[in-house]
Subunit: 161 residues, 4 copies
Amino acid sequence: MSARRYVAVVGPSSSTAEQDETAERLGGELARRGHVVVCGGGGGVMAAVSRGSAGAGGLVVGLLPGLDRTEGNPHLTVAIPTGLGELRNWLVVRAADVVVAVGGSWGTLSEVALAVRTGVPVVALGFWNLPDEAAAGGPAIRQAPDLDAALAAVDRVLADA
Amino acid sequence: MSARRYVAVVGPSSSTAEQDETAERLGGELARRGHVVVCGGGGGVMAAVSRGSAGAGGLVVGLLPGLDRTEGNPHLTVAIPTGLGELRNWLVVRAADVVVAVGGSWGTLSEVALAVRTGVPVVALGFWNLPDEAAAGGPAIRQAPDLDAALAAVDRVLADA
Amino acid sequence: MSARRYVAVVGPSSSTAEQDETAERLGGELARRGHVVVCGGGGGVMAAVSRGSAGAGGLVVGLLPGLDRTEGNPHLTVAIPTGLGELRNWLVVRAADVVVAVGGSWGTLSEVALAVRTGVPVVALGFWNLPDEAAAGGPAIRQAPDLDAALAAVDRVLADA
Amino acid sequence: MSARRYVAVVGPSSSTAEQDETAERLGGELARRGHVVVCGGGGGVMAAVSRGSAGAGGLVVGLLPGLDRTEGNPHLTVAIPTGLGELRNWLVVRAADVVVAVGGSWGTLSEVALAVRTGVPVVALGFWNLPDEAAAGGPAIRQAPDLDAALAAVDRVLADA
């Protein structure tokens, strides 16, 4: 196995045009770094990051909630139907060396919280601001103001790991 | 099958004395209402609610993260080793008609977020205050100032369901 | 937690009258021994063993494939919707100190094979005869000619464990 | 998403030299057909089919039982740690358009049985002979005497699907 790194990108399936543009550019940058992108394989942010990565020749893995492979977005290199429903979100987190959250939603929050709980680094871009109690003992989530800052944070996390 | 209702109680395994006291009283009240308590089967808030429910003659189910039944707390009526690690938290949520969060932690947050995401009502007691964005479209989490208010919220949710 | 033992009973959901009668008597005998019965919570052999156990005052846990608790058979003490589909069969096996197979089917075979693979003892009653290769190195499955022999095998396995 | 087909290859992690040679040639032939190979990512038959596929430029996905990506064999294109233990075998089956079993073992049997149970076609090469009851209603498993016959069976199954 190569030393490829795996970056999970999580975010709402109902996304804004700005989130989609960010996610697509993110996918391209991750592909150019040689990283595998892992996502839930659906629409919104998931489809945008897949399109960006695939467009730059990257490898994109979608872990789908249902049992039907054709429900995956058309940009996935590998589409794995799991039949686990929302539980598949945790497989996405488990598969990742670092998680990048683009935008906020309850589903995204559950993935981010699991990542923090299980020690997977999280970089957030336009994610919800979590309460002060959540940050006691130091920031568990690296909040990035823009895409360049998010990519720099990903690079640092992967260099440290 | 009887018309018993299932209440998941989630909270930190490293809990304060006050959280433990609240969880134990909560367990007793849920048992007196005839509800099945579902939890992760471990220590802290999980052990306290189990002790309270068992002490009042209630039925307590623990869905354990590991494969060893003896890792469950000693108050469980039924202890189910799942071998799923933290993923078992989502089985706790799926098994519930309503989720009560006592105290806050990243693990608890992941369970609460999944519950909101999948439409399971959540009552929170001493849980983190989530950001305003999370409450857009109406409060997804019923914040209760004390145990009596939490029990009243549980009663209302179960009456509506 | 008491020293209660957990016996998984697996078998076809489309069962014969003879299999149902055997499973119901088995449920009653397990309940009288104080054992918790774990099953998939559905019909056929699952419903029969649940009825037998509940009728003798036993505790029966059903781990359901879907997300709807009301799909469980009416004899379950505890009904846990998992949303895992057929994957829930493996939670049934993981939750057991011993597995009893009543009758044969492909679903039952997958559970029996997993139990052998993961070291959970199996007692079989009217199960398929597996090929000689499967028995190389000693019988992994205790074939019982009738209910009394099956119960004696369960007793021995639990005494040894 | 391309119209790539997914072939799960299952078999013992403790394999014979003959099984390894068969699995490696199988992996190469599947890669030349443009199919994605899905496996458990470990040793024995899993490593051999991965080596064969990777050597022919194919895409190989390993769904690992543990949480550590480095436990995967070195030939995987994509290595997904699941933390599900033996339960990950069912994800392998769910991800497949057809399952090929090379050799027999209890773990392999559990995967084959699940595939039959859930309607995924199975081609068997040196697998255990299952009892006559299992074949009632027609052969659920396509037994192939050699690699060429197995590949022809895979081609037919995928053409029909």
